[in-house]
Symmetry: C2
Subunit: 148 residues, 2 copies
C-alpha cells in the first residue's frame, strides 16, 4: 500500500506539472515510513540521506513546501522553534488533532473529527467560511499520569 500511495502522490504531482524525482520520492517514502512521527525538515533530511546520501537540505525544504501546497502534508508548529510536517490520511477532509504532553513531549494524534458541531457554530455565528483547522491540546498524556 506504500506503493499505491506513492502512485497517487505521483499523479497528484503530474496533474500540476511537477515531477516525482528520485529525491522527492525518497522524501515521500520517509514521510510514509514515519507517519506516526512529527518530523522537522532536519529530521526528514537526516532520514532521507540514508536513502539518497547526495540530497541537500534545501531540496528537502523545497519538497516539503511543495507537498504542503498539494495538501499531501500539513505543516504544523507546536511552539518549539521548528515546523513539523505531518502526512494527511488518504482522503482525509480535515487535518487531525494533536495531543502534546508537557511532561514527556510526546505528540499523539486524534484522527477522528471532533469539531463538526463547533465548526457549524463558527460558520453561522461568525460568518466565517472554514477551509481548515488546527487543534492541539497541551496537557499530560496517559503514560505520564500513570508514572506519577
Amino acid at each position: 500500500m506504500v506503493e499505491t500511495r506513492i502512485e497517487r502522490i505521483k499523479s497528484q504531482l503530474h496533474s500540476q506539472k511537477y515531477k516525482l524525482t528520485p529525491q522527492r520520492e525518497a522524501t515521500v517514502r520517509v514521510l510514509l515510513e514515519n507517519e506516526k512521527d512529527h518530523l522537522s525538515a532536519e529530521d526528514v533530511y537526516l532520514l532521507v540521506k540514508d536513502k539518497a546520501p547526495e540530497i541537500g537540505l534545501a531540496t528537502v525544504y523545497r519538497t516539503l513546501e511543495l507537498l504542503t501546497e498539494l495538501k499531501v502534508v500539513d505543516k504544523i508548529n507546536f511552539g518549539d522553534g521548528v515546523s513539523r510536517y505531518d502526512l494527511r490520511q488518504e482522503g482525509a477532509t480535515h487535518f487531525h488533532h494533536h495531543l502534546v504532553c508537557i511532561e514527556c513531549g510526546a505528540v499523539d494524534e486524534i484522527q477522528e473529527d471532533l469539531l463538526g458541531d463547533v465548526e457549524k457554530i463558527v460558520e453561522k455565528r461568525w460568518q466565517f467560511l472554514i477551509k481548515d483547522h488546527r487543534l492541539t491540546f497541551h496537557g499530560i498524556c496517559h503514560r505520564c499520569q500513570d508514572k506519577d
Copy 2:
C-alpha cells in the same frame, strides 16, 4: 482600567520575585493598547520604542518570555515564521480561539469557549489531562466573502 490591569500584573510579577521595571511596564502597556492585534516581538519592540526609545530588542524578548511564563500572554504561531503574543483576558481560564483569513490575513478572535464538550470527550477517551489548547480556523472571513 488599564491601570487596574497593570497593577494586577505588577502583583503577579512581585509574587514571583520579579519587578515591574519601566521597560516591562512599557511593554505591557503596548500589549494592552493593542489587545486586538497579534503582535510579533518585532512589532512590540517598535511600538515600545516610542515610549522608551532606549529599550533593546533582547529585553522585549525576555519580557515576552516572562509574561508567557506567568500566563499573562499566550504565545502563538499562525504559520508565518514568527511567534505572536496575545494578552489573556482577565481571569480567562482558557486560551481564546482564532479565525485566520487566508485571503486578507486578518486574525479575528473568539473569546467564547467552544471546546467544553470536546475536551470532556478527549479527557475521557484518550485519558489525557488537558491543561491548555490551541484552536485556529483557516478560511475566509465575512469581509472577504462580501467582497467576492
